[in-house]
């Protein structure tokens, strides 16, 4: 399992949720929120693709956040 911590001032919560939904077929996800972060714990179905999966998930969340005009 790998933990990604998305800063709440930099990433939109809806964007992170949407990104997780987009990659739901490739990994198991656990979501949690703290005061400062959206926490996503990822367990990839194929460990060989873990790096790519985490990278693409981060890119997807960032892209959606930018398209929404920021974290807000």
């Amino acid at each position: 399992m790998t933990e990604l911590r998305f800063d709440r001032q930099l990433y939109s919560g809806e964007a992170v949720d949407q990104a997780v939904k987009a990659f739901a077929g490739f990994a198991a996800f656990e979501l949690e929120q703290t005061d400062a972060h959206w926490v996503v714990r990822v367990t990839p179905r194929d460990p060989k693709l873990a790096r790519r999966l985490l990278g693409e998930l981060g890119n997807h969340a960032l892209g959606l956040t930018v398209q929404r005009g920021g974290a807000k």
Binding site: D7, R51, R52, E56, G58, N59, L62, G63, V66, G70
Partner: protein
């Protein structure tokens, strides 16, 4: 393990050769967040981009090569290109901020022009009642009201 990148300040940029990634610390007072977003967005097709905020007014940008392998020269080039893009985005953001009123005015005029002229029905239905109307110079008065003959005063019959 991160190592400093040649020709770049050690505290601002560091390379992680094992994970083919580079980390850049960006001061938000110099580069506003929209500019950081803009530069990051440009790079998401070339590498994996992750933003973090380790300190109050600083954003750490992590760029990882999608291939999973990159030498020091490639990582240095990546940082340089990102820094250039960041500067470009910051400057464009500043120009947009400076010309915001002009852009909004031009857009509003364009939209108003696209709506076309009001019809006679629209003009007939226009409601003036909620607008205060002050006419101290009598501009809205008709010519007859303003300059026409005054009605004669009723004369008293018993006058000599």
């Amino acid at each position: 393990m991160t190592t400093p990148i040649a020709d770049l300040p050690a505290g601002l940029a560091a390379a992680d050769l094992a994970s083919a990634a580079v980390h850049l610390l960006v001061d938000e007072e110099l580069y506003p967040l929209p500019a950081i977003y803009g530069a990051a967005y440009v790079f998401i097709d070339r590498c994996y981009v992750f933003l973090d905020r380790p300190e109050g007014a600083r954003v750490r940008v992590s760029l990882a090569a999608k291939s999973g392998a990159a030498d020091e020269a490639a990582l240095r080039a990546l940082v340089g290109e990102f820094a250039n893009e960041l500067l470009s985005c910051a400057f464009r953001h500043q120009i947009t901020q400076d010309n915001r009123v002009l852009i909004e005015t031009a857009t509003m005029q364009a939209l108003a022009g696209a709506m076309g002229q009001p019809s006679l029905d629209d003009l007939a239905k226009f409601d003036f009642s909620d607008q205060g109307f002050d006419d101290p110079l009598g501009i809205a008065m008709s010519w007859e009201e303003k300059h026409g003959k005054k009605a004669p005063k009723a004369e008293s019959e018993g006058a000599p």
